[in-house]
Amino acid sequence: MGLIGSYNLRSMIVRKGTAAMTAGGIAMVVAVFVMTLAIAQGFRATLVASGSPQNSIILRKGATAETVSGLLRSDVPLIETLPQVARGADNRPLASPELVVAIALPRQTDNQNANVPVRGVGPKAFQIRDAMTFVEGRQFAPGTREINVGRLAVGRFKGLGLGSDVKFGNATWTIVGIFTADDAAFESELWGDVDLMMPAFQRIGYQSMTVKLADASMFDSFKAAIESDPRLYLKPSREQDYYAEQSQAMTTVIRVFGTFVTLILSIGAVFGAMNTMYAAVAYRTREIGMLRALGFSRFRIVTAFLAESVALALVGGVLGCILALPVHGLSTGTTNFTSFSEVAFKFRITPALLAGGMLFSAVMGAVGGLLPAIRAARIPVARALREI
């Protein structure tokens, strides 16, 4: 660090009380900023993790989500037999026709009912989703009223422990296994045999179908095959694209809201920084006059004070990031606007988010420091030298 930088830093330390309060204010704003965006990041990551590059999800044309889609039973064999669909060790197609219905269950935290997605799946569903792992119990047996529950749903709703009975669709279902899915949205769901769930929920068709392709590069030909078959009124999507789109509305709302709140807060922090820097300029007017008399240009004075303000804000930025870090990995949940059911997800603080927080603090420092820095440079030298 140069001597002038060192001068600014040491002067800041001399006024450590006000400097600490300013840095503290900025730290709070950065912490809120990082935490809010960590929600959006976590929500998006959860939904995007639900998709695999090798999988395709098929919905009715025009449907934007599984809940508003429909597939005929007769559609299933037409898709399953396409050559692009991968086959399991038993040579059966890796395809799962599915049904998603929301049921109401009480939350662990407030005992209030919330919508929980129940997914009826085909026997190959667990093979199609690579990330699925059982942490307790086993996969449900097809043709029985056994179900599996995602680990995040277990933590979030009452009565979902291994061996518990859950009543829905005029029947009682027994939980025989708890699974994880790399924090994907599936971890907030209950899974059972689709062929038993359809009559239970009085449905006559499926809502979607997910298939594993023999190779991810076959998606285009798979799509072309479905779209060119006059018997099928369906639209296949890459599974990752579908889930990324599902997260769009919610993450946009969180981001817009988060940005709005942090902007309001940042106005306060910027005024704090401005106040501190005006005080610093007033306190050091004679020093500024002396530096100008020695030949330091106005530009150098502006940059020195601006750098001081930005440095102070960056200290706040680091503190804010440290304050926000403990929420990383904490589990929470919200209603997904597209499925109207609860999705549990984890706060996710990424290096890019922390870099964004630091950049935000630097901007607050620069905005707060600019006017005082200009003022410092504009004080007439002769008058500054007379200041006591």
């Binding site: 140069g2 001597l3 002038i4 060192s6 001068y7 040491r10 002067s11 330390i13 001399v14 004679r286 020093e287 006059g289 002396m290 530096l291 100008r292 008399a293 020695l294 030949g295 330091f296 240009s297 106005r298 007439p380 030298v381 002769a382 030298l385």
Partner: protein, 231 residues
């Protein structure tokens, strides 16, 4: 040719609509190597005159030439660069930066040059050696006496080896002993190092050390004392 040439310099300050004349058509020539004392009562315009010479204030009318440069016509930016190269300023209240050591305070003007860190160190130690404070390089201003602080300020003024030293009441805040030391130092800089010095002072004892003394009263030169003691 004189190092400094002031011609009909007038300075007027404006307070609201009222014009306050501070200097009225002052003309002075200061030859290279002179030690000039400027005396006069408070408000006579002597500090303003010094500020005009230093290029930290501008005349309302008239011209100021220092060396080959017409300083009154330079831009703000050019004037700052000119000050850094040509003028050493010594203030009544020393104006040392309290959070910097004696060494760092003296180094400040060298930051405006292209010297390397080692060269800067050599220059600073030479300047501190001239003011006999080499052993105080790591001391902060609060750890020094008033006289020592002023000597550090003088080291800062001479570290870039300027032709012209301007001193505004350099002994005004010092006890008699320290004032004597500072005046002896200035005299040495004038005689030994051939620095041209213009010193504003209230103190007749300080003025006695100058080779020539000018008196200002109400913004005009009223008397010229030829060839004072000069030590």
């Amino acid at each position: 040719m004189a190092l400094i040439e002031l011609r009909d310099v007038t300075k007027t300050y404006k307070r609201d609509a009222i014009e306050i004349p501070v200097l009225d058509r002052v003309s002075i020539d200061v030859p290279e190597g002179e030690y000039l004392g400027l005396m006069g009562p408070s408000g006579s315009g002597k500090s303003t005159l010094l500020n005009l010479l230093a290029g930290i204030d501008r005349p309302t009318r008239g011209s100021i030439r220092v060396g080959d440069t017409e300083t009154s016509s330079l831009s703000e930016r050019a004037l700052a660069g000119w000050r850094a190269r040509n003028v050493g300023f010594i203030f009544q209240l020393y104006n040392l930066i309290p959070v910097l050591t004696a060494f760092e305070n003296v180094e400040l003007p060298l930051l405006l040059t292209n010297l390397s860190k080692t060269q800067r160190r050599d220059h600073v130690m030479t300047a501190l050696g001239i003011v006999a404070l080499s052993d105080r390089e790591k001391h902060y201003p609060r750890q020094l006496s008033g006289g020592q602080e002023q000597r550090v300020a003088i080291a800062r003024a001479i570290v870039t080896d300027p032709r012209l030293l301007l001193a505004d009441e350099p002994t005004g805040d010092l006890d008699a002993k320290s004032a004597g030391e500072v005046l002896t130092l200035l005299q040495r800089l004038n005689k030994e190092y051939k620095k041209t010095i213009v010193m504003v002072t209230h103190d007749p004892h300080a003025a006695e050390r100058a080779t020539r003394v000018l008196h200002l009263e109400k913004g005009t030169l009223v008397e010229q004392t030829p060839a004072a003691v000069g030590g």
